[in-house]
């Protein structure tokens, strides 16, 4: 468990499949923030995906197998932290529901769930962080991703940390709590509806007149960034961890390498 020399808690970083493949800089930013909150970070190699694609498609058997794999991968961690409300919600709220009540697996999943936190909620609610290493001067607006907001009640935490950055101004947009239309497989199965939803979202983003749109979930961010990019908007799209950690070397999501 925790490092006996330093007594720092050992945090297993669940990077999420999207961060792993599409935007590893979010994972590096998350690690930096967790270390800043005086924890040791480990990244188990045996992690892949939280299993939501199977779970939300009705394939409970595969979702359960992936849940057990993830739980095993994070044995020995004091905390399990994910830079995503959706994946953290899956680990925390849904893993126990995949197991038969009263079974050993259910007990394991429940014990595991108790250690799981979404990144920003972990920093604020568990570690009591009130300042961050990031520096940024400009305006941002924040989209509350659905699972983080409604399953994990993440609302004030990112705002608390963002407001601690000198020079950063948070401009709230209208309907920041309404779904962007991503919904995982939904965006592929029902692309027309998904597109109509993200169109409303980007209209609200544009009306907020901020330099950057931030959120805590890469799925939503890819959806919003993809739409903003199609609309040739100048508004940059980043994961909130990037700003908080000051990991701004990579261009924003869906932006060309020339825009840093």
């Amino acid at each position: 468990m925790s490092d006996p020399a330093t007594k720092r808690p050992r945090v297993g970083l669940f990077a999420t499949c999207l961060v792993d493949m599409f935007r590893p800089s979010v994972g590096m930013a998350a690690a930096r923030l967790i270390e800043y909150a005086d924890c040791e970070v480990v990244v188990p190699h045996a992690q892949t995906c939280c299993g939501q694609p199977a779970y939300n498609s009705g394939d409970r058997a595969d979702a359960k197998a992936l849940a057990l794999q993830t739980i095993a991968a994070f044995e020995g961690c004091d905390y399990v932290v994910a830079p995503s409300g959706s994946c953290a919600g899956m680990l925390k709220a849904h893993y126990p529901r995949l197991m038969d009540e009263g079974s050993d697996d259910h007990a394991r999943a429940s014990a595991f769930a108790a250690r799981v936190h979404e990144l920003v909620s972990f920093l604020v609610d568990v570690r009591g962080l009130s300042d961050v290493p990031g520096a940024f001067s400009g305006t941002v607006t924040y989209h509350d991703s659905c699972s983080g907001l409604r399953e994990l009640t993440i609302k004030s935490q990112p705002r608390t940390l963002l407001k601690s950055i000198p020079g950063l101004e948070l401009k709230e947009m209208d309907d920041c709590e309404i779904c962007c239309g991503f919904g995982g497989a939904f965006s592929v199965k029902f692309p027309d509806i998904s597109n109509a939803m993200v169109e409303k979202k980007t209209a609200n983003i544009a009306a907020a007149d901020a330099d950057i749109i931030l959120a805590g979930d890469l799925g939503c961010l890819m959806n919003m960034a993809g739409k903003l990019s199609r609309q040739e908007s100048k508004i940059a799209c980043r994961h909130v961890a990037e700003i908080l950690a000051g990991e701004l070397d990579d261009p924003p999501i869906a932006s060309s390498d020339d825009k840093r």
Binding site: G27, V43, G51, G58, D59, C146, I193, G226, S255
Partner: protein, 480 residues
């Protein structure tokens, strides 16, 4: 009503391209949603009341058999008749029998979603009866030959301009130069037309929001008073409702009414809340000579014993659809059957089958806004997921989806292979995107790229970056 839920995707596309519909739908956030929020904010104990309501409905459903029998007994004692109908066909037949027994020609009708569920109007009309909808929204739909697109605001998909045009076309006997600009003028005109129907009706049919077991009363809530005229002027009153509506006591119904009005329209109480118990008694100044209640099951008791039981708590307020971003985008008709929105996505598969309605529980991002506003705390996303599980188990999930899912799951359970492929994909996609940062077209995701770009990956995976950092740390002798 012939379901078109299997065509949900094309229904949705049509709806998205319908500018009048989109204009009508754009009023929901500032209307019903804002009104509910204001009503909730005015009642500090709103959330406690929700918990109370949930527990109350759970109790009633748990002892449904007892309360239904008690209700039937109370109705009978009050001089009314209860008719049990296990299917829509049974219910229609019972209603037709009552109408024919009374020698009825003209039937007035209050708003009832159960009557939509059983296709009542078409059934009665086929038998030669004239049926007139008396709720303004339903009346508009009747003259347009449409079905409701919302459970409490049936004509929410229409703009005022469309209604004005309908009235001018339909009420050609009225002066052409009359003013029909304010909503009040439209209401007045409908009232004028309907007045004559009320006075001449042989049978009045209403729905019921709740049934009270202890008194045998049925309750309707309306804002137009049409329900009262429908049920008290005709000599026969028929209540068409379903078995899940029964609550134990008068007080229980009162608690639920407080939640219903606030959740539905943001009112403290609807303009009319009407209780009816049996036919006219000796000495009553008015009321029907006959009082009948049709209790429809139509698959509900079957849901009672399943993982879908919680959906039966629904009190039909419509808050879930008002707050649903999918409903707000496509409106109610796209859902292709009686109940639209999140509640329809859970109810309809139980009534018309998962094969017909399978699209509905899939057409959700699981954003959870429906559950967060449901006065009965129905876990709608969870129940939609259960339908997806049924679909998957019964082999109704499309083959391509199933194959993709299985291949992905097999891979995800082999971390080494998974990470190797992720590295490869990340590189290949980064290479293919050049310096653009996003794709304007993607194979297998052309639906996505039809309306937006697809962001390109950064080129290396997080596992790779982390391994490199660890290696670097080991070389420099740091533990971090």
């Amino acid at each position: 009503m012939q379901p078109t839920s299997h065509d949900f995707k094309s229904n949705a596309r049509t709806a998205l391209a319908d500018r009048q519909l989109q204009e009508a739908l754009s009023g929901i956030p500032g209307g019903l949603v804002a009104q509910r929020r204001a009503a909730r904010d005015r009642l500090p104990e709103f959330d406690d009341l929700r918990d109370y309501g949930r527990d109350l409905r759970n109790h009633a459903l748990q002892h449904l058999d007892i309360y239904l029998e008690r209700y039937e007994q109370a109705v009978t004692e009050a001089g009314g008749h209860v008719h049990w109908a296990s299917t829509g066909g049974d219910a229609c037949a019972a209603i037709l029998r009552i109408c024919q027994g009374a020698g009825a020609q003209l039937v007035t009708k209050g708003k009832s979603m159960v009557s939509e569920e059983i296709g009542l109007n078409a059934n009665l009309e086929k038998a030669g009866l004239e049926v007139v909808e008396t709720d303004l929204g339903e009346y508009i739909l009747q003259i347009r030959h449409e079905t409701p697109s919302h459970i409490i605001a049936p004509a929410i998909h229409l703009t005022q301009g469309q209604v004005e045009a309908d009235f001018r076309r339909e009420h050609s006997q009225l002066p052409k130069d009359r003013r029909l600009i304010d909503p009040a003028e439209l209401v007045d005109e409908a009232r004028q037309i309907l007045r004559e129907k009320f006075l001449n009706a042989d049978v009045g049919i209403t729905g019921a929001n709740f049934l009270i077991a202890e008194t045998g009363s049925s309750i309707i809530v309306t804002n137009e008073g049409n329900g009262d005229l429908t049920q008290s002027l005709a000599k026969v009153h028929i209540v068409i409702t379903s078995v899940d509506k029964v609550v134990p006591t008068f007080n229980d119904a009162a608690a639920l009414l407080r939640l219903l009005a606030r959740s539905a329209t943001g009112q403290e109480i609807t303009s009319y809340t009407t209780f009816s118990t049996g036919p006219r008694r000796a000495g009553d100044p008015d009321g029907p000579e006959q009082y009948h209640v049709i209790l429809l099951d139509n698959g509900r008791s079957e849901l009672l014993g399943t993982e879908f039981r919680e959906v039966l708590r629904c009190i039909r307020c419509g808050a879930c659809m008002n707050h649903c971003p999918v409903y707000n985008a496509v409106g109610g008709h796209a859902y292709g059957w009686v109940y639209p929105g999140p509640i329809g996505a859970v109810l309809n598969p139980g009534m018309i089958g998962i094969k017909e309605a399978g699209n509905l529980p899939n057409a959700s991002t699981f954003c959870g806004r429906c559950e967060s506003v449901c006065p009965m705390h129905i876990p709608l996303p969870k129940l939609m997921r259960h339908w997806r599980e049924r679909e998957f188990l019964e082999g109704e999930t499309p083959f391509v989806t199933r194959l993709a899912l299985k291949s992905w799951a097999t891979l995800a359970r082999q971390p080494w292979a998974y990470h190797a492929l992720s590295r490869l994909m990340s590189r290949a996609m980064k290479f293919a995107s050049g310096r653009h940062g996003a794709f304007t077209w993607m194979p297998f995701a052309s639906g996505w790229t039809g309306g937006r770009n697809f962001p390109a990956p950064q080129g290396k995976t997080f596992q790779e970056l982390w391994a490199a950092r660890e290696k670097q740390a080991a070389r420099t002798g740091r533990t971090q």
